[in-house]
Each structure stands twice: as structure tokens, then as C-alpha cells.
Amino acid sequence: MTDRLAALGRFGLSAIASLGRSGRFLAGTLIGVPKPLTGLPLLARQIYSVGVLSLAIVVVSGLFIGMVLGLQGYTILSDFGSEAAIGQMIALTLVRELGPVVTALLFAGRAGSALTAEIGLMKTTEQLSSMEMMGVDPLRRVIAPRLWAGFIAMPILAVIFSVVGIWGGMLVGVEWLGVFDGAFWGNMQSSVDFVDDVINGVIKSVVFGFVCSWIAVYQGYDCVPTSAGISSATTKTVVYSSLAVLGLDFVLTAVMFGNF
């Protein structure tokens, strides 16, 4: 019994210590913006690998999710004879929830795991150490561009996801099932508010982007430098990012949309 208590205590302490380490790591990364001349090309390269290369999976997922929403929405709403509200339903679901959340989950799986593995491997092969010994701070040179790239790419991906999803929903609802397209767009426009819905959705994805890339680069940087260490760090990235996104989504939703 005391053994278990002790183990629980140890686990709690190491969890708090790990949180503290990740906080210090974040501070070390963000303090001191990289030199603009060398920093921008590095940032562009990272936005490319984190954002542009995730575009395909985001577009395809967005399209299918939008189409499924169209089909499901139509079956349910046509029972009440209000299938014209389908546009409103699709747009609100995507812009407020599915856009930011699903994009963040895809991002964690596609880009976050790659980030962790890349940084973990750089650590294992002593590339980070050798950079330090060359008088270059790896936090600023390697970590900071990746963190910022995730932060910038995520909202862009989420917005593209929502647009493609709405287009997919329109494809199913208007083109196949014959909902009148004036009513489709009209209902959508009268119910979606730019600031309350669209901007709040973007804020959500900015938060998710930050948290996901933070977790990914931290797990890579903090991993045990062996192949088993990298694999467990990659798993942790996906698991922690997904949980963090879903948990934060609840909190953010409660704050943004909870007052009615």
C-alpha cells in the first residue's frame, strides 16, 4: 500500500517536473526572436514541411467530413421539412468545432509526430549537441522556427478545412439532394456571425496550433536518445496533443459559446 502511494507520489512529482521543464524550454525558445535575415528562410522551410505538406490530408478530410455532414444533416432535417437549414448546420459545425478540432488532430498525427521524430533523431545523433558546441543555440535555431511554423500553419489549415468542408456539404446538399442553393447560402449567412463564429474558430485553431507544436517539439527535445526513446516520444506527442486539443476545445467552447 505504501509502495503504491510512493509510486503515485513519484509519478505526480515527475509529471510536475516535466511540466516545469517544458515551461522553461518554451521560455528559452521564445525569448530572443531569431535574427530576421537568417530566421525567415528557416521559418519558410518549416511552414512548408509542417503546413504545405499537411495540406493534402486536410483538404481530403475536410471534403469528406463536409459531405458526410451534408448527408446526415439532410436525413435528419428533412424529417422536419427544414432541409434548407442544412447550410447553417454544416457551416456552424465546421467553423466552430470540426474545422479547428479535426485539423488539430490531423496536424498532431501528420506534422507533430514528424517534428518529434526529427528533433529526437537530431538529438540522438548529437546534432543538437554539436550545434550547441558551435556556439549556436539549438532552441533558437532548430526549435523556435518549428514552433512558430506550427503556430502560423494551423489556423491556415483549419480555415481551408472549413471552406473545403462547406463546399463538400454544398456539393451533397445542393447538387445531389436538390436543396435550393439560395436558401442554403441565405440560411448560412444569416446564422453565421463573422466575429462570434469565424474569428472564435480561428482563435481556437491558433491555440491548438501553439499547443500541438509545443508538445511535439518538447517531446522531441526531451526524448531519451535511443530508438525506443524516439518511438515513445512520438507516441506521446500524438496522445498528449489529441487529449490537449479535446480538453482545450471544451474549455474554449465553454468560454466562447457558453453564455446562452
Binding site: T38, M122, E126, Q127, S129, E132, M133, M134, G135, V136
Partner: protein
């Protein structure tokens, strides 16, 4: 040692994960000479280099490099000091996403604002020094182990450092690559007047090039001096290490409990 010590370690104590790795190590590394630090595997020789480079901090004691106490340096000063050091990692630690040329150019691009054609000249000069000017467009994955280390060497001397540290430069190299590295280390030292610190457990190669050697075991310096002095060192442990005897003061058996109980013989070994 003489007063021209480039690096001085004084009573350095360092422990990691509850294990004491250094227990009061003191040593001087003279300027402009090759110093070999030898010892059995797992005695923290690489850790020693990291202490000198400021990547680790000792629990107590002083690590003085070029007159500056490394553990007490601020981040900015530490990074400045590191520009004057080069380190060759055991694995080479080349940046895998950059070509050989870009790897060598990396410190120049970060720390200097030289124009592109100057960088090109310097990089080719350094690659020429390690005999790999022709390999400049290869990627690190296309290099053999020995070539990787030579490129890494070219990279660590790109900024013309005053100190260069070699971490196990001979480990896992074939005899030819080893010969090349021995020659390079010696040439660099004599031509550029570098202070070189060499960490290794390859006794013959290390003793053949170093001016001064020091043997570490169990967290302490157990012997130091010129190679000749060491060969006639009175300590049994030094002799055991230098001559590679399997048993001696460093026991063949890892400390274990009574053999009889492990093998299930209740009355002990008969």
C-alpha cells in the same frame, strides 16, 4: 604543469542520476599541445568534454577555459567562448539535411557575415585540409564512417578555433581511416598551433600522437604525464589499463553477490 595551461579543472565533482562520475578531478591541459584523456569505457570521458564545453555543470569545483570559469558564465558569454572551441563528436553529428559543403559552411554563415565567395573559399580550404574537397556535394548519408568524421573535423575547424576536442575519434574505424585521422590530428596541431584534447580508449594510437596523457578511472585521475612517464608508471592500475590485462586491480567480475546462491547451490560452491 607549466603556467600556460589552456584548461584547468580543479576538484571537479559531478554526479548524474545519483551516480558519482567525477569525485574531485583536477588536471591541467597545456596550450598548443595534444592531451589524451584515457580510461575504461563508462568512466565519463565524454562527460568531461561536456563539462569543458559548458553543456554540463559540475556539482562543485572549477572548470577554467582560457581564463574563464565555464560554469559561472552567462549564456551569452558561454556561446561566445564556444565559438573559440571545436568539438568532434563520436558520431560526427553532421546535419543530415545539409550537404557536405553546407555543413562546413554552417558555422561561418551563423557567426560571420562573410560574402558568399569568401565562404566558398574558406570551406574548400578546410575540406582540402581533410582531403575531401571532391566530396563537397555529397550528402552525409552518402559518406563512410571515416569520411563523416573528416567532414565533421573540417566543420569544427571552420572558425579556426583555439581548442579542439575529439570524442573517441578512433572508435570503430578501419586501420586506414584511423591512420588518416591520426595524421590529421597531428598535422592540425602542428600547423595551426591548436590545443587538442583527445578522449579515447585506444591506447597505442593515443599515446603515439599525444604530448601528454592522463588516465581516469573510478572518478579520479589515477595517472598523468608524458607517454614515456606513463609507460613506467608505478601504479598497477595504470599498467593494467595500458597493457590491456583482463584481470588486476580492475576486477574481471562485475561486483556480484555470492555465486553459490545465484546458481542455486544452497551450501555455496563446493
Amino acid at each position: 604543469m607549466d603556467s600556460s595551461a589552456f584548461i584547468t579543472l580543479k576538484d571537479v565533482v559531478f554526479s548524474r542520476a545519483g551516480r558519482r562520475i567525477f569525485d574531485g578531478v583536477s588536471l591541467d591541459i597545456p596550450k598548443g599541445r595534444i592531451t589524451a584523456i584515457m580510461g575504461p569505457s563508462g568512466t565519463g570521458k565524454t562527460t568531461l568534454l561536456r563539462l569543458i564545453g559548458g553543456q554540463l555543470r559540475p556539482d562543485s569545483g572549477r572548470v577554467v577555459v582560457a581564463g574563464q570559469n565555464v560554469p559561472a558564465l552567462k549564456r551569452r558569454d558561454l556561446y561566445h567562448l564556444r565559438e573559440r572551441m571545436g568539438m568532434l563528436f563520436q558520431s560526427g553529428a553532421l546535419f543530415t539535411d545539409l550537404s557536405v559543403f553546407e555543413n562546413v559552411a554552417f558555422p561561418l554563415r551563423v557567426h560571420t557575415s562573410l560574402p558568399e565567395d569568401m565562404i566558398r573559399d574558406v570551406v574548400l580550404m578546410k575540406l582540402e585540409a581533410v582531403g575531401l574537397r571532391g566530396a563537397r556535394d555529397l550528402m552525409p548519408a552518402e559518406l563512410s564512417g571515416g569520411m563523416t568524421r573528416r567532414v565533421a573535423l573540417a566543420r569544427s575547424i571552420a572558425l579556426d578555433p583555439e581548442l579542439i576536442m575529439y570524442d573517441e575519434p578512433f572508435a570503430g574505424q578501419d586501420p586506414i581511416a584511423m591512420g588518416v585521422l591520426v595524421k590529421l590530428i597531428r598535422d592540425l596541431n602542428s600547423s595551426m598551433g591548436l590545443t587538442s584534447v583527445l578522449v579515447s580508449h585506444d591506447v597505442p594510437e593515443s599515446l603515439s600522437i599525444c604530448h601528454y596523457a592522463c588516465i581516469i578511472a573510478d572518478g579520479k585521475v589515477i595517472g598523468q604525464g608524458t607517454p614515456d612517464e606513463l609507460q613506467s608508471h608505478p601504479s598497477e592500475r595504470v599498467q593494467q589499463f595500458l597493457n590491456g590485462k583482463p584481470d588486476g586491480p580492475v576486477p574481471f567480475h562485475y561486483p556480484a553477490g555470492d555465486a553459490g546462491s545465484d546458481f542455486g547451490l544452497a551450501g555455496g560452491l563446493v
